[in-house]
Symmetry: C2
Subunit: 468 residues, 2 copies
């Protein structure tokens, strides 16, 4: 056992330091593509311990890999070299008292998102962040990756929902930025900068988050759209007519629906007809006086008159609402069970979604004829999870993964979009990012990293290459 | 004429380089407290010229002071030394075509906010940023100061409304970050970092901004509240019952109302009774089916039953709505006409507004008995413009300006708030900021500045002291 491992285990005690087989559950990423065995896993009980760990690692020249719920899709929370320590905040799970008057709450970074949702429910308050991994994803990881999810178009991403932060810096100092106000211009917006920094500038240990009152009523509909252009047009109409109620606006394709129905036998599709594209619409209001069903029905009628909507139904119960949502939420699982896949996390300006999907299909079909394309995602912010399965009868992509990624990145970039919308870069997309960034952007990001973490202690090789 | 001035005038041509008396209108800040004569004012016609100016200034060791509409209240857009060039983007005023499908628009940084509002009107779109100075404030300055205004609690501050940026760096390079999507996690959130950086990290030359559909109906009410605690409670109730319609929630005091009525003879107060505190509520909706008046009336009745609201009226016309708003908006002008004043731009968690105002009154009365306090601002985000006039019969503050500022800063900080909510730091609050910042925050900010602008070319002495 090396000296610095002794130091770490002394700082943390037996509960706080895992090595050998105990560390294995932390070692690999969610998709099982990244991760080598680290020196161990540090599980600090509080901020002071987290800071001491970072300080000791820095002094020993050991890389520090912050890990939240380890649900990331880009391999940014596991080690790529043995001389590394994973810092998991899974023991720091305190949830403060919500402040209903101010609409805020202080939480430890290790809090699981679903646990926060549950804790808020009796208070009539909500934290408007919803995504597939909410049962495991932790607040610190959500901040580190600047998570988006299905309500981002209305309430924002994590960077919009964070009021204050506490962060352990790469030097092992603690920045106390735990203010609890939206309007704070007393210097650089550090609180925003740490969002999406993927643990390369510091480890978020605590946060003050913005809360909203829970809506008093909601209504959902599943719609069959004539095509993607129709979905975009209908989305624009809805934003104009019911923008302030819009709490969900998700799309998926018939290809994805078919995969989900094939692999998840308990899923049920309950409309009479199928189509190429589906839209899941959810409206919510704090006022019981708003005729939500009437507003949604009237929009639906308009959509049918315009030839945009070909079929559809409002959920007539909570159970049916859940079924509608499962059709959307089981898309990734359906595709995973189909076998090999390639995931791309694209965003384009919302009005360009249909154009992207059309052009993307041509490009991908050119690269590997018959490749199956399953685009689904968030219509309101243009976020397309553009996933591929091999052609029917094939098990792989003929070694063309890189070609797909490059072509789709170029297409999204040309349209003013991003090839890393809400999953981040991690290790999976760092080469692509460095290649895609302009020289000025590359330099600014490297300087930023260099200023905060000159020894490249925190999450080296993630988000940016070695600091300037 | 020095060599570098020749260089600058050659880069910019006669329209683009102002000196001597031509430069005077740019020299002093809005409150006429800061600004010495610079070498001249550079008015680049485009981004390339702006970059060339910065590069030339950097090489010559001349400070560059970016200036927008010069409406800032903290002296951050004028020179404090003669060896400086003011860069005004007032010639870069192109407004792109709005994209209604994507809800975005690209604009030059020199566009005046009111001009943007006007340009959007025929398209049924709005940019939800409203503040007193909108007739002169320019987009670049609003970004540099991370402006907030009266709708920030609903739509966010500038940092939440900026999708993409183009920025001239202190080296005279151009960062093209003009993407047009909300979800973009392909690296550090530079676009957020430049918001509120007060021109110390770069000059914003162009931006892609987020747009919203214009509401189809709105309704406003002026309410007399029994006290500040009642205003806070009523605000919490409104957020729960009508949160998604809430487009304005402004408060002011009877002290401020009296000053406005005294100095602006065309102002009219139309309710039957007065009180200590007033609330201006505005609801707006995209749906014509929402019974906005009914919702507001019902909230009002609830407030009266609870003893929170003592009087009130819904605006019965656009003209009356404007009169209501003027009562709030003329608060600064009324106080200015009263004579000497001290302005403080505080934010506290919204639920703590009443506590802050009570404690603030005790503290300020202790420092200078009889001092007149006029707090007004934005209830939804806890932003209090906490302004002071000398005691009746006195013309000044007996040299106690610093004491007030320090005491109020401590009070806001203790409450988890900020002493620089939406006006920024500029030159006026830099000493206070450095004193108030913890050692870690001070170091992080200095490193950030040092990484981007090691020669301290851009706006030296604003926001942070000299870089590390």
């Amino acid at each position: 056992m090396t000296d610095h491992v002794t130091t770490l285990s002394e700082i943390l005690g037996p509960k706080g330091w895992l090595s050998g087989t105990d560390a294995e559950p932390y070692q690999r990423d969610w998709l099982n593509r990244y991760g080598v065995a680290p020196l161990g896993v540090a599980r600090p009980a509080n901020t002071a311990e987290a800071a001491a760990v970072v300080k000791a690692c820095r002094e020993a020249g050991v890389a520090v890999i912050p890990q939240g719920g380890n649900t990331g899709l880009c391999g940014g929370a596991v080690a790529d070299q043995p001389n590394a320590v994973i810092v998991s905040l899974s023991r720091m799970t305190a949830i403060g008292e919500p402040n209903p008057e101010s609409g805020s709450i202080a939480v430890d970074a290790g809090v699981v998102l679903a646990a926060l949702h549950e804790a808020l429910e009796p208070h009539g308050l909500m934290f408007p962040m919803h995504l597939g991994a909410e049962g495991s994803a932790r607040i610190g990881g959500l901040i580190g990756t600047n998570a988006g999810g299905s309500q981002a178009f209305r309430y924002g991403m994590m960077q919009d929902l964070v009021l204050g932060l506490e962060v352990v810096t790469p030097d092992g100092m603690v920045w106390d930025g735990l203010r609890a106000v939206q309007k704070d211009n007393a210097g650089y917006q550090l609180r925003k900068l740490y969002c999406g920094a993927e643990g390369t500038l510091g480890i978020v240990t605590r946060a003050v988050l913005r809360l909203y009152p829970t809506p008093k009523q909601q209504t959902s509909a599943l719609l069959v759209m004539s095509d993607f252009a129709a979905a975009v047009s209908f989305g624009v109409y809805l934003r104009g007519e019911a923008g302030e109620f819009l709490a969900g606006l998700e799309f998926f394709s018939d290809a994805g629906l078919a995969l989900a129905l094939k692999h998840l036998p308990d899923l049920a599709y309950q409309l009479e007809s199928r189509g190429d594209v589906y839209l899941l619409v959810e409206l919510a209001s704090g006022s019981p006086r708003v005729p939500l069903d009437e507003i949604l029905n009237s929009a639906l009628e308009w959509g049918m008159e315009q030839g945009l909507v070909t079929d559809g139904a409002l959920a007539n119960s909570g159970a049916q609402r859940s079924q509608f949502w499962r059709l959307r939420e089981e898309q990734p699982e359906g595709q995973r069970l189909e076998g090999e896949q390639l995931k791309h996390d694209i965003s384009v300006p919302p009005g360009a979604i249909a154009r992207f999907i059309k052009a993307g299909a041509e490009i991908c079909g050119g690269i590997l004829p018959g490749v199956r394309i399953n685009p689904f995602g968030h219509l309101g912010d243009g976020n397309i999870h553009y996933n591929l399965s091999p052609p029917e009868g094939r098990a792989d992509f003929d070694g063309k993964a890189g070609q797909f990624a490059e072509a789709l990145t170029s297409l999204a970039t040309e349209m003013g979009g991003s090839f890393a919308a809400e999953h981040g870069l991690g290790r999976a997309k760092i080469a692509m990012a460095e290649q895609n960034r302009g020289i000025v952007e590359r330099e600014l990001m490297a300087r930023l990293k260099g200023a905060f973490d000159p020894q490249d202690t925190l999450n080296p090789g993630v988000l940016v290459h070695a600091p300037l």
